[in-house]
C-alpha cells in the first residue's frame, strides 16, 4: 500500500481541479491532484494519446493555452515536491479520519484491473472536490442501436484518439455544446449531415443581462456557428430526433419539428440517413464523493443534482470545498474561476497568504453563472422526448429494464420515488450504477407520479458508499487508518 500525506487533496484534474491545485500550490500549500484520467485535462481538455498522430489540440480545444500553461506550471511545482500528481487514480471512498481526510484510490484504466496494483491512500487536511460531470442521456426508440453514441462520447473519441467517429454523422439533443462537437467532427473529416437542436438560441433574447455579462460566451457560440456554416452543416432549431432507425445498426434517424407547445408539428416528420448519431442532453454532475462526505445538495436550474457551496466555494462540510460542474454545469471558464476561488480559500484556511484577486474573480464567476443559468433556461429538455418512450423502450441497458417496467413499478406496485423504482424494477443496479439511466429513471418516475423531478430521485443514483467498482480482494485489504486485525468497532 502506498500512502501520501499532503495539506490539500484536489480530486479531479479538469478545468476546476487544475485551477484549484495551481492556486493553492502557488500560495505555498502542498497539494495532491488525484484524477482518474491517465492524462490531465478532464473531459474538457482531453489530451491526445501519445502516438495518436499529427494533431493540433489547440484547434479543437477552447482555452488550450491556459490548460498547457497551467499544466506546465504544475509539472514545475511537482519537480519541487510542492505538487503531487496522481493520474489514473480512481477514488472509491473518501472518509474523515481524525482531523484529516483519507482518500482511498484504486489504480488501473479499467475496473477489471483495479485489483492488480497496490492501493493508494492520500491523507489530506483539506479537500477540493472537482469531480466534473458526464453526459446526460435520455432513452428514445432505437437509442440502443450500435452507432448511437453520446455527444460527449463523440467529442472524447475525437479529442482522445483522433478517430473520426463515423462517416455520416448527425449531432442531436440540446445546448451550445452540440456546436463544438459538430464543428470538431466536421473539421476532422466527418460529414455532419445535420445538427438537430431542440431549442433555439433566440431564447437568449429573454436574458439580455446574462448575455451582456458574458459576451465572450456568445462570441464562442457565434464562432462555431460560422464555422459550421462554412462546412455546410445545417443546424435545425426546434427539431428533435424522434427515433433511431436500423435493425442491426444505425442507418438513419426520424426527426420532427416542434411547435410552440413542444409538440411535433404534423407533417414535419422526415428521415435523414446517417451512420452515427451523437446525442447530448446536457451533463450530469458526478456527486458520489460529495454525497459520501455528506455535503448538502440542491437541484439546479437544469434539474441536475449539484453541491451547494457558499461564496468561497465551501460545501456544508467543514474542510471541504467544491468547484466546477459538481456545483452546477456551466462550462470550463466558470469551472476554472470556481476552482481558483476554492483553491485560494482552502489555502487560506491552512494559514497560507492567499487572498489574491478575490473580488474580480467573484465578479467573473457571477456573470458566468448568470450566463449558465440563462443557458439552462434557453435549452431545456423538451417533454416530448420522454413522452416518446413506449413501454418497450429500453431505459437501463445494464439490467435490461424497459420503460414499461418503470411505469408498472409506479402504477401497479405503488413506488413514489426513484429509489423505490430502482429496488423494484432494477434500473441503475448494473455495472454503470445508473450513470446512463439514472436521470431518465428519475424523470420517468416523476412523470408517472404526476410531479416534477425532486432531489431524492437523483440522490438514489448518486448516493453510493463505494464510488467505483472495487474487487472484493482489494476491499478486503486492511486500510491505512486501521489495525490490520482490529475489530474496527
Amino acid at each position: 500500500m502506498t500512502e501520501h500525506l499532503v495539506d490539500l487533496a484536489v480530486i479531479g484534474a479538469g478545468p476546476a481541479g487544475l485551477a484549484a491545485a495551481l492556486a493553492a500550490a502557488e500560495a505555498g500549500v502542498r497539494v495532491a491532484v488525484v484524477d482518474a484520467g491517465v492524462r490531465p485535462g478532464g473531459q474538457f481538455w482531453r489530451s491526445p494519446a501519445p502516438g495518436a498522430g499529427p494533431f493540433r489540440p489547440a484547434t479543437l480545444h477552447h482555452g488550450w493555452h491556459w490548460f498547457t500553461s497551467t499544466d506546465d506550471r504544475l509539472t514545475e511545482l511537482a519537480g519541487t515536491g510542492r505538487v503531487l500528481r496522481l493520474a489514473g487514480h480512481h477514488v472509491w471512498s473518501v472518509q474523515a479520519a481524525g482531523d484529516q481526510w483519507a482518500v482511498h484510490c484504486v489504480l488501473g484504466a479499467e475496473p477489471r484491473q483495479h485489483g492488480t496494483s497496490a492501493p493508494v491512500t492520500v491523507h489530506a487536511r483539506r479537500l477540493v472536490l472537482a469531480t466534473g460531470a458526464y453526459d446526460r442521456q435520455l432513452p428514445f426508440p432505437g437509442w440502443d442501436l450500435p452507432g448511437v453514441i453520446t455527444a460527449g462520447g463523440a467529442q472524447a473519441l475525437l479529442k482522445g484518439n483522433l478517430v473520426v467517429a463515423g462517416q455520416r454523422v448527425i449531432v442531436a439533443g440540446t445546448g451550445p455544446f452540440l456546436l463544438p462537437v459538430a464543428d470538431g467532427l466536421a473539421r476532422h473529416g466527418a460529414r455532419v449531415a445535420a445538427v438537430i437542436e431542440a431549442n433555439s438560441p433566440l431564447g437568449f433574447a429573454r436574458f439580455p443581462g446574462a448575455v451582456l455579462g458574458a459576451t465572450g460566451k456568445l462570441g464562442e457560440a457565434t464562432g462555431y456557428a460560422g464555422r459550421l456554416l462554412r462546412h455546410r452543416v445545417a443546424v435545425h432549431h426546434r427539431h428533435v430526433v424522434l427515433g433511431a432507425l436500423g435493425t442491426d445498426r444505425l442507418t438513419g434517424v426520424l426527426v420532427g419539428r416542434l411547435d410552440r407547445n413542444g409538440r411535433v408539428r404534423a407533417g414535419t416528420e422526415r428521415q435523414i440517413d446517417c451512420d452515427v448519431l451523437a446525442v447530448g442532453w446536457g451533463f450530469t454532475p458526478q456527486l458520489e464523493l460529495p454525497l459520501q462526505l455528506g455535503c448538502a445538495t440542491h437541484l439546479d436550474v437544469d434539474k441536475s443534482l449539484v453541491v451547494t457551496v457558499d461564496d468561497d466555494q465551501a460545501t456544508s462540510v467543514a474542510g471541504v470545498w467544491a468547484a466546477g460542474e459538481a456545483t452546477g454545469v456551466g462550462g470550463a471558464d466558470l469551472a476554472t474561476v470556481e476552482g481558483r476561488i476554492a483553491g485560494l480559500a482552502a489555502a487560506a484556511s491552512l494559514g497560507a497568504d492567499a487572498v489574491a484577486d478575490g473580488r474580480p474573480l467573484r465578479r467573473r464567476r457571477s456573470s458566468l453563472r448568470g450566463f449558465a443559468s440563462a443557458m439552462h433556461q434557453v435549452y431545456p429538455i423538451p417533454d416530448i422526448v420522454l413522452e416518446r418512450c413506449s413501454d418497450e423502450t429500453l431505459v437501463c441497458r445494464c439490467e435490461e429494464v424497459d420503460a414499461g417496467s418503470i411505469r408498472r413499478a409506479v402504477v401497479d406496485l405503488g413506488a413514489t420515488e426513484a429509489r423505490t423504482v430502482k429496488l423494484l424494477a432494477r434500473p441503475g443496479m448494473g455495472w454503470c450504477q445508473g450513470r446512463v439511466c439514472g436521470f431518465a429513471t428519475a424523470c420517468l418516475t416523476a412523470r408517472h407520479t404526476g410531479r416534477a423531478v425532486a432531489e431524492p430521485d437523483l440522490r438514489a443514483f448518486a448516493d453510493r458508499s463505494i464510488a467505483t467498482p472495487v474487487p472484493l480482494g482489494r476491499l478486503a485489504a486492511p486500510l491505512a487508518d486501521e489495525q490490520p486485525d482490529g475489530d474496527g468497532g
Partner: protein
C-alpha cells in the same frame, strides 16, 4: 412541507397499519383477507426503511429453540403456502423471487462443528430439517467453497425472497382487496377516547379506526411514544455488499457457524460474520455486519472490509469479483432480541408488530397471521406472551 388542511376522514377503517415495510404489508394483506377494512400509512415511500436494505432471509437454521423459532416455523409454512398463490399469469412466489434453495451452515473447526451438531439436534425435535454434511462432501453442495472447513449442516427449508418486491406485491394484493395505502404521510399523533386508541392523526388528516397496528420497524419506538407507551426498539446498523452479476456459482445461502452467535449477541461493537448467497439477478450478496451506532449514515469502511475479507475466505473465487454497491440498513432490535407482537394492554386498541431485528422479512408472514388472529378474536396459533409489548418494564435511559 406546506400547510395542508386537516380533514377528518369520512370513513372509519377497521385497522390502520402504521408502516409500509414488509411487516406492515404482510399484516395489511392478512387483515384484508380476514375481511377487515385496512388503511396503511407511512411517513415515506413503500419499502423505504429496513425492508429496502435487506437480504430477504427466510431462515430456520439460525434460530435457537424458543419463541423465535416457533414464529419462524409458522412463517416458513406461510411463505410456502403463499408461494403458490396465482398472480399475473404466474405465482406469487415467482413474482417475488422466492427461492427454496436451502441454507448451508459451515464450521471452520471441530468445536464449532460440535456446536452446530448440538443446535441441529435440538432444532430437529421441533420440526426443522437439518442434514449433516461432512467436510469432504461439502464440494457436492458448493463446488467453490474453500476446503478450509470442517463440515456443515444443510437446512433445506431455508429460503430467500426479494424483500422489496414481496412487500410491494403484498401491498398491491391488499389494495386489490380494498385497502388504502397512504405514503409520505407521517403519523403525528393518535386519536383517543379516554385510554382507548381510536385512530391516528397524520400531517394531512385524521384516520379513525377500530384498531391501530404499529408496524413502524426501527421507528416503532417513536410511534409507540406518541401513544404514551414504551416499546424499546433501537437501530442496529448493518451492511450488505452487492457484487457485479455473475453466472450462478453459489447455490445456497452459505454462512459460517459464528453467525448464529452474532445474531444473538448483545455487543455494541462491530461484528461481522460471513453470509454469502447468489440472487436471481446474478449478483452475490455478502453480509452480515452488526453494530449499534444509532442512525449513523456515514460509511464504515472497517465493516465493508471485514465483509469482503470473510467472503473471500469462504469463496476464494470471489477475490477478483467487483463490488458494485453496499446497502446500509438499520435493523430494529429489542433488548431481548425478540419482536413485539400483539395487543398493548397499556393502550387498548393499539397493537404492535415490530422489533424483528434482522429477521423481519422471514418472520413477517407469521407475525401477520398472529396479529390478524388476535384482531378478529381467534386464539393465536402460538403463544404471544414472549412477544408481549409490556414485557420491558419502565423506561430506562435512552
Amino acid at each position: 412541507m406546506p400547510d395542508r388542511p386537516h380533514r377528518t376522514g369520512t370513513t372509519t377503517s377497521d385497522l390502520v397499519v402504521v408502516g409500509a415495510g414488509i411487516v406492515g404489508a404482510a399484516c395489511a394483506y392478512y387483515a384484508t383477507r380476514a375481511g377487515l377494512s385496512v388503511t396503511v400509512v407511512d411517513s415515506g415511500p413503500i419499502t423505504g426503511g429496513t425492508t429496502g436494505a435487506g437480504e430477504g432471509n427466510i431462515l430456520l437454521s439460525d434460530k435457537e429453540p424458543g419463541p423465535e423459532l416457533d414464529l419462524a416455523l409458522l412463517s416458513n409454512r406461510q411463505w410456502r403456502s403463499l408461494a403458490d398463490l396465482p398472480l399475473d399469469d404466474t405465482t406469487f412466489g415467482r413474482t417475488v423471487e422466492l427461492e427454496t434453495k436451502g441454507g448451508l451452515v459451515v464450521a471452520t473447526g471441530q468445536a464449532e462443528l460440535d456446536g452446530l451438531a448440538r443446535l441441529a439436534a435440538e432444532q430437529r425435535e421441533l420440526g426443522v430439517e437439518a442434514l449433516a454434511v461432512p467436510g469432504d462432501r461439502l464440494p457436492e453442495f458448493e463446488p467453490h467453497l474453500t476446503d478450509d472447513v470442517a463440515g456443515g449442516y444443510q437446512y433445506p427449508q431455508d429460503m430467500q425472497v426479494q424483500p422489496m418486491l414481496a412487500a410491494a406485491h403484498l401491498l398491491r394484493l391488499a389494495r386489490r382487496a380494498g385497502a388504502t395505502v397512504l405514503t409520505h404521510e407521517p403519523v403525528t399523533g393518535f386519536l383517543c377516547d379516554g385510554e382507548r386508541v381510536t385512530g391516528v392523526r397524520t400531517d394531512r388528516r385524521d384516520i379513525p379506526a377500530g384498531a391501530v397496528l404499529n408496524a413502524a420497524g426501527t421507528w416503532a419506538g417513536e410511534v409507540a411514544a406518541l401513544a404514551g407507551v414504551r416499546v424499546p426498539v433501537a437501530p442496529r446498523r448493518g451492511y450488505i455488499l452487492v457484487t457485479e452479476p455473475l453466472p450462478p456459482i453459489i447455490r445456497h445461502k452459505v454462512y459460517l457457524a459464528d453467525y448464529v452467535a452474532d445474531v444473538a449477541s448483545d455487543s455494541a461493537a462491530l461484528q461481522t460474520s460471513t453470509v454469502v448467497e447468489g440472487t436471481g439477478a446474478g449478483t452475490v450478496l455478502i453480509g452480515a455486519s452488526r453494530e449499534r451506532v444509532g442512525f449513523d449514515r456515514t460509511t464504515s469502511l472497517p465493516a465493508l472490509r471485514q465483509l469482503a475479507a470473510g467472503a473471500v475466505r469462504l469463496f476464494p473465487i470471489l477475490r477478483d469479483v467487483a463490488v458494485l454497491r453496499a446497502y446500509r440498513g438499520f435493523r430494529p432490535y429489542c433488548p431481548d432480541h425478540l419482536p413485539v407482537i400483539g395487543p398493548d394492554p397499556r393502550a387498548p386498541g393499539l397493537h404492535h408488530a415490530c422489533g424483528h431485528e434482522g429477521a423481519g422479512i422471514g418472520l413477517s408472514l407469521g407475525t401477520a397471521r398472529l396479529v390478524t388472529q388476535s384482531l378478529i378474536g381467534e386464539p393465536p396459533e402460538i403463544d404471544l406472551r414472549p412477544f408481549r409489548p409490556d414485557r420491558f418494564g419502565p423506561e430506562v435511559s435512552r
